[in-house]
């Protein structure tokens, strides 16, 4: 067979051989070649060495409170619309778009009449002192979220403009 290292396309075969992803018949042919080709043998040896080295790089375990923090963020970011609608939607109910639209209108109207959306979040009961003012943390976090989203969008638009140049 031709030496796989003669072309990049075929060199990928050597990579697949080292990861044992080659068809057994093809692997057998390649193995016979490697036995007589110093360059391919060196490639295979070095590739195995790289993988052994990478195996040594262990990642730390995930924090024990990862899930709790995530669910907290999800809970914080559920909008007041979804909060209004949650009691009407059993978990396993398939959502019917037409019924949903009608239900949304009714619920939102009822919600606005009976339960006006809160003007601000959780620190309203903490009295302000003359020296120390309070902020609404949800608004600050909303601002940070909005900035992240808009900045990412800005990057994409810039990349798009740069690509045209």
């Amino acid at each position: 067979m031709n030496c796989p290292l003669e072309s990049r396309e075929n060199a990928g075969q050597l990579l697949d051989y080292c990861t044992r992803k080659l068809d057994p018949d093809v692997a057998a042919v390649l193995e016979r070649h490697i036995a007589i080709c110093p360059a391919c043998r060196e490639f295979a040896d070095h590739q195995r060495a790289v993988w052994q080295a990478l195996d040594a790089w262990e990642a730390e375990p995930v924090s024990a409170d990862f899930n709790r923090r995530l669910y907290q963020r999800i809970d914080q970011q559920v909008s007041w619309w979804e909060r209004l609608m949650q009691p009407l939607r059993p978990l396993t109910l398939r959502w019917n778009a037409a019924a949903a639209a009608a239900g949304v209108v009714v619920v939102m109207a009822a919600g606005l009449l009976l339960n006006p959306p809160p003007a601000g979040p959780t620190v309203a009961n903490i009295p302000d002192t003359p020296q120390v003012e309070s902020v609404q943390p949800e608004q600050v976090e909303h601002a940070l979220d909005a900035m992240d989203t808009l900045a990412e969008f800005s990057h994409h638009v810039k990349d798009s403009a740069d690509a045209k140049m």
Binding site: R8, E9, A49, V50, A53, A56, W57, F66, N67, I74
Partner: protein, 201 residues
């Protein structure tokens, strides 16, 4: 390894990977299925992100964002690709953004900071000697530097290929490029890594 299950979708039968089936249940409002997906993929996402950005705190924060986006997208989820392809596409996208923005420039763990790199799992009766520990730390530093020196997309491709054992086609789906482009990325990346790391074995 994905498990193939059959499920009905609007009257038509289709083979889905199990994760995609779970995500469809999340779409229907089944929060428990989201928990299953989270528990199943949390570690691999965090570890992938850690090796991309080389900062554990940033990696966890990015991973939180990944799953937040998965959750937010539940309403329009369609299994047009494997679930893990979609998941890692989001993760890679966020990691590349983070690297590009230099968000972890000041917070990136210094590559010579050894305190985070000790392997957590140590069998109680086999403790490394001080010398073994030093050798290990030196080796780890070289590995991290070699990975860090790869261009971002090559880095992502190698990490998915090596640690997630993804096929070329799936890596191509994550990176939105052709399989031949993935092979080219990997070839160049491993060429660089062989030059820098082969002596460590």
């Amino acid at each position: 390894m994905s498990e193939r299950v059959k499920t009905d979708m609007g009257g038509a039968t289709a083979a889905l990977d199990l994760d995609a089936a779970l995500m469809l249940r999340v779409k229907e409002g089944d929060g428990a299925s989201f928990g299953v997906l989270l528990d199943k993929h949390r570690s691999s996402v965090v570890h992938f992100l850690f090796r991309m950005v080389q900062n554990h705190a940033v990696a966890e924060e990015l991973a939180q964002e990944v799953f937040l986006r998965v959750y937010r997208s539940r309403g329009t989820y369609e299994p047009t690709a494997k679930f893990t392809t979609w998941l890692f596409r989001i993760a890679t996208h966020l990691a590349l953004n983070s690297l590009r923005d230099g968000k972890n420039e000041r917070s990136q763990e210094r590559l010579d900071d050894d305190t985070h790199d000790m392997p957590v799992r140590q069998v109680a009766d086999i403790r490394p000697s001080a010398e073994q520990s030093m050798v290990y730390q030196a080796k780890l530093k070289e590995i991290r530097r070699a990975i860090s020196a790869l261009p971002d997309k090559q880095r992502a491709a190698v990490l998915m290929h090596k640690y997630e054992e993804m096929e070329y086609s799936q890596i191509a789906g994550v990176l939105s490029c052709s399989e031949s482009a993935v092979k080219s990325l990997l070839f160049r990346a491993y060429e660089t890594l062989r030059a820098r790391l082969a002596h460590l074995a």
